[in-house]
């Protein structure tokens, strides 16, 4: 059959196949090179996978739909830099599955919210935003303080992430590799075999929700918020360095 305008137009099946082919080529041309171009992910130190407690907090962040109103992506624009801080690096979300970049800012961007406010502020604010910011339109999440944090499945959650490439360790070899890459302190936190004790220990020592007697969902969510955007020490790098990765 000759491939003419007419023969494609009158043959729905052929047209669907060719449209898909065209879109596939367009997509592949844009996406595939990112996998083998060396400069896609910046080479910076300090970025590590989330600890078990932070990872549970991230799960709660996803469950509560925070991403629908808060982006985690600071773009390289003057106004964004002045309001939120240094623009986000690709490397900063390399252990995120899925990404929580978001596309809607009803509330402010949260990519660098870590360390900006105290734990107590986050707890008060999540419990009822209007207690601290009267003009806020964010919903209240009072159940975060009431719900005990479920963490019996945290090891399985880490195993699932390990399957998609996050370097949590389970065998001795993996642990040794992590010590080499992240240092002993971080490597201990990434050990799946110690996930539950690590989670409890971090919540106990930092006491994110202000109540040492209970381990709540608030502990986990605040732990996650407090680490956002804090892993890279930008004072170590010349600004121009990051531009060489584009």
């Amino acid at each position: 059959m000759k491939l003419t305008h007419e023969s494609i137009e009158i043959n729905a099946g052929l047209m669907v196949a060719l449209v898909m082919l065209a879109i596939t080529i367009g997509g592949l041309v844009e996406i595939v090179p990112l996998y083998y171009i060396e400069d896609t992910v910046e080479k910076v130190s300090g970025i590590r996978p989330y600890t078990p407690l932070e990872q549970r907090g991230r799960d709660i962040y996803i469950r509560e739909g925070c991403v629908t109103c808060h982006s985690q992506m600071i773009r390289p624009f003057r106004d964004e830099d002045m309001r939120y801080g240094h623009y986000s690096l690709a490397a900063e979300s390399k252990y995120d599955h899925p990404f929580l970049w978001g596309s809607k800012r009803t509330g402010p961007d949260l990519a660098r919210v870590g360390g900006k406010y105290s734990n107590a502020w986050h707890t008060q604010h999540l419990n009822n935003p209007r207690d601290v910011v009267p003009e806020s339109i964010m919903p209240a999440y009072p159940w975060l303080l009431k719900n005990e944090l479920g963490y019996s499945d945290v090891a399985d959650r880490m195993r699932a992430l390990k399957m998609v490439g996050v370097p949590y360790s389970e065998t001795d070899d993996e642990y040794v590799a992590n010590v080499k890459q992240f240092g002993e302190e971080v490597a201990n936190m990434l050990d799946i075999n110690r996930a539950e004790e690590n989670l409890v220990a971090q919540a106990q020592s930092q006491n994110y929700d202000g109540n040492r007697k209970r381990l709540t969902e608030m502990d986990a969510l605040v732990a996650y918020l407090q680490v956002l955007g804090t892993m890279v020490d930008f004072s170590q790098y010349d600004e121009g360095y990051f531009a060489t990765f584009r």
Binding site: R78, Y87, S118, H125, V132, P134, D238, A243, R246
Partner: protein
């Protein structure tokens, strides 16, 4: 139309529905075609000028360039990319240049010079107001007055926990503060806490039970409570500890002025003594630039007149 068809001026595809509904086969409008060719041409120019085609583990960088100064002050020129263009804009863009002269002037000036110069003060306050709204207002409230007494210090009143001079304010902003008072409920019984509360309220001129206040004074000034170590024997507080002045009418933790009955006031103060205080202000030196902290200091100082 029917006339045209009869004259064969318009070709049809030969399809016909419902007897006379035909499909025309007109050429594309010429404006559309030219727009199409123009966008192809645009793409070709774009490929030459900007990063475009992947080649192995690299890509074509394009002929356009961006120039900026690195940390050593040397000029760097590299192939145009959004990040290099961003640095260039932060250094040389119209808005950046408009601010630059002011920023340099304020940066070189001392706090005294800034506060004596109305132009520099106005600039500092207008810029710092925005920085304050983005970073500080979440706790201290827009304009420096937090919505609820007790959670975070009011910056508009005349009282300072850590000192209100330019130097002290700058230190507070850049390094942060940990406000801590031990929970005395662990070492004192309820009666003693009650006596202490009466004494403390008496310090600021409340009419309290003199007998209880007398007993409270012994705890406050003695080893048992040890309150005087931080709040001083006169009760005026100590900036180095962030200990509040207890002799004035300003209350930052217990909302004493919001209560009418002495009983309620005593209850609130007792609660603070019983549970202690743990408050934290994060340090901002990593997040804000030196000049931003300086401008904020001027702004915060101006909110209440400072010290």
């Amino acid at each position: 139309m029917a006339e045209q068809l009869q004259n064969k001026a318009v070709q049809t595809t030969g399809h016909a529905w419902d007897g006379d509904l035909q499909e025309f086969n007109n050429p594309l409008p010429s404006w559309w075609l030219w727009a199409f060719y123009a966008s192809v041409l645009f793409a070709l120019v774009y490929w030459v000028l900007f990063p475009a085609w992947p080649i192995g583990s690299d890509y074509t960088k394009g002929l356009a360039t961006a120039t900026f100064k690195n940390d050593q002050g040397e000029e760097v020129t590299m192939g145009w990319n959004s990040r290099a263009a961003f640095i260039q804009e932060m250094q040389e863009g119209g808005d950046a240049l408009k601010q630059k002269a002011y920023l340099q002037k304020v940066s070189a000036a001392s706090y005294d010079e800034i506060s004596r110069d109305p132009e520099m003060t106005a600039f500092a306050e207008s810029l710092a107001k925005v920085v304050f709204a983005d970073n500080c207002a979440a706790c201290h409230g827009i304009g420096g007055t937090p919505p609820i007494v007790g959670l975070y210090p009011n910056l508009r009143d005349d009282d300072w926990l850590w000192g209100g001079t330019f130097g002290q304010i700058e230190h507070t902003i850049s390094q942060g503060r940990i406000g801590f008072m031990p929970a005395f409920g662990k070492v004192l019984d309820t009666g003693q806490v009650d006596q202490l509360a009466h004494y403390v309220l008496g310090l600021s001129g409340h009419e309290v039970d003199p007998a209880k206040a007398k007993l409270g004074e012994v705890i406050f000034q003695g080893e048992e409570g040890g309150c005087h170590y931080c709040h001083t024997q006169s009760g005026k507080g100590l900036y180095s500890q962030g200990a509040a002045n207890l002799t004035d009418a300003i209350w930052t933790v217990a909302d004493v002025t919001g209560q009418n009955d002495l009983k309620d006031k005593v209850k609130l103060v007792s609660q603070v003594i019983d549970e202690g205080i743990q408050r934290e202000m994060p340090g901002w030196s990593k997040r804000l630039s030196e000049i931003e902290i300086k401008l904020l200091t001027v702004y915060v100082h101006s909110l209440s007149g400072g010290e």
